[in-house]
């Protein structure tokens, strides 16, 4: 194991950043121009009217008007019934309904679907994904993720991680992921892909990726999209293709334990599918998509079932429409 420990330690040293390292925005914009890169910011949404306006205003002001780092800001929506799209458009974002992108290929409800369709719709050489539910939004949520890709051509995929305000003591920071990360994903990575445990928050919804990587990845449309990305790229290029940036803190709405259960079920489906794909688990039964939870009312116990099926979209590069639009 010491070889893995050493590789993780080296990677943490060379590929883990703090956002303050990229404070010089003028220099970042200069380096981006010199590298001849274009950058798209994609915010996947579903009923995010309370936070979307602020995100657009801050990103547009700081990363387009003041410092021309981002070339386009796009909201890709799964069919919000609130004013998400109206608000986003009113503050200058390009807004798209996921169902209207690549209509021939149909529409699947799920965040992964929006992320996948963004690769077709957006123009950038780098796509930076940022979730729409961040309350303490700041320009660094995008700039500090694209910066390692601008300065280090060998890095392909940059994840965000954050402080979590739990039991701070002396100079030690908690450096933990969320509940699903710590209870499900990190144990699984420890068993099967130990080097990936170096990613402090593998499920973070904020990450920036080069187009040539994104277009080659299959996309689970639901909860498993981030986990499968990490495994696929790791298998393809190893740990050195990744980097991560510390963004200090992220305030967002909390999810219930029942919702985290659904998320874990979807992630586990994708994970087991990857084990099969890479020949790491033999004789797994055919997986069904029925997730069972229970609720109690007095002494009555009721079964609540939900179909969660992690359907996958193929790598975008396999679509003729994509190759034509982007000249690939």
């Amino acid at each position: 194991m010491s070889g893995i420990d050493d590789r993780i330690a080296r990677w943490l040293e060379t590929n883990t950043f703090h956002h303050s390292e990229f404070w010089d925005m003028q220099e970042l914009v200069r380096a981006k121009k010199e590298a001849g890169l274009t950058i798209s910011l994609c915010i996947p949404t579903l009923n995010e009217e309370t936070t979307i306006g602020k995100e657009i205003i801050v990103f547009k002001s700081e990363l387009m008007d003041r410092y021309p780092l981002i070339d386009e800001i796009a909201v890709i929506d799964s069919g919000s019934t609130d004013r998400t799209l109206e608000i986003a458009a009113s503050y200058g974002a390009d807004t798209y309904l996921s169902s209207e992108i690549l209509p021939k290929h149909g529409f699947r409800p799920g965040k992964g679907e929006n992320l996948w369709k963004a690769i077709y719709q957006l123009r950038g050489d780098i796509i930076c994904y940022v979730d729409a539910d961040i309350k303490n939004i700041h320009a660094k949520f995008a700039s500090a993720l694209v910066a390692p890709l601008i300065y280090r051509p060998e890095i392909q995929y940059v994840k965000a991680f954050y402080d979590r305000p739990l039991a701070l003591s002396d100079d030690m920071r908690p450096s933990g992921g969320g509940r699903v990360t710590e209870i499900l994903v990190r144990p699984l990575f420890s068993l099967f892909f130990p080097e990936l445990t170096a990613l402090i928050q593998p499920l973070s919804g904020e990450y920036a990726v080069r187009r040539e990587v994104l277009e080659k990845l299959p996309f689970p449309i639901g909860y498993g999209v981030e986990t499968s990305h990490l495994i696929d790229l790791y298998q393809l290029s190893g740990l050195d293709a990744f980097a991560q940036t510390d963004l200090d803190s992220r305030v967002h709405r909390n999810q219930s334990t029942a919702d985290l259960g659904k998320m874990s079920f979807g992630i586990l489906q994708s994970f087991l599918d990857r084990l099969k794909t890479y020949g790491m688990a033999k004789d797994l039964p055919e997986l069904h998509g029925l997730f069972r939870q229970f609720q109690a009312e007095g002494r009555r116990y009721e079964q609540v079932t939900r179909e969660i099926f992690e359907e996958e979209r193929p790598p975008m590069i396999t679509l003729p429409e994509y190759r034509e639009r982007h000249g690939r």
Partner: protein, 392 residues
Amino acid sequence: MGKRTITAKPREAVLAHRDKLKNLREILFANVVMAGEIPAPTGFERRITRFLSDRFTECGLDNISLDQAGNVAGVLSGKTGGRNLLVAAHVDKIWAETADHTVSVGVGRMSGRGLADNSLGAAVLATLPLILAELEIELDSNLILLGTTRSFGRGNLRGMRFFLENSESEIHSALCLEGIDLGRLSFSSLGMARGEITVEQSSPLDEGSEGGNPSGVVAVLSELVSAMLQINQRESPATRILIGSIEAGSGYSVPPRSGLVRFEIRSLDAGRVARIEREIVALVESFSGRAGISSRIEMIAHRQPGDLGSKHPLVREARETLEALGIESRVEPSVSELASLLEKRIPSLTLGVTRGENRHSPQESIYLDPIFDGLAQLVSVLQFMDTGDFSF
């Protein structure tokens, strides 16, 4: 008074400014969000002054500095620099550091603690160099942008007072920015005395008898406030005693051992303020004689009344600009930073930037579209100030 003949404000020019400033919409709104999400209780404004200082640096202002009172200042040097104009906004908020300062942005409005008082004012200050650049306006005068600290409560305008007492530059005229309300025209300041009355139970309580005990803290607070309201009724409407808060106890059944009343006396007549203050001091002393009760009063802030006069060219300019924008002006005497400026006989106004609602509540809101009217008014008055064609 100046001798310049005031002509009607060219409506087209003001409207053109307003429309052009919409190009800065995202930059201004982002500044409001960022200023709004920084907690800045009175006396703890370091983070928000750092934010302004960073913005001033990005705009290339000269002489960016933090002074001993914590104020942040930057100078946009004028073409000739013969005069110094001041635009100020207080940066402290009434909310505690731990309160949720999240700003939410909807269609046409933003909501969040302290947005109207005074994150919007601070954000306009941060954006003002870009506003002038967008309109290709170069002032002859030096423009000093000042974010002042310690405005509220016990802060007693300490930031502005310190600046005026220690500034090496003579200030020829000044504007104070408040987030709301667009259309307010504040060119006079009220005389004001602000105080706190503390009532304490100095002997052990007789358990169970508090409800009917005429000398209990609650009874004394009640009598005290009634007496103050009677004084208020006796005075003319131009003189007011405002009871801002009454605090005592923490539950349902345990009698409080102490209580606090915060109040202000406001009047255009400084003599009346002083006389009422003496009356209230005597009233408080009279309660101290009661068995088992001690009471004391602490006066924490005073303002002298001041008045630029409704016919002053600066006032007329602001009024005419509002007329050109189709906004009705409303005279509103001030007790904030303007008082310190008028006390120093500096021709000054306080302007509101936009309209809003729920001031000083967690749902404080500002409307976004009228902000551009407010900015057009600010620029127009600033250009007039730059002519220097008036005195106090």
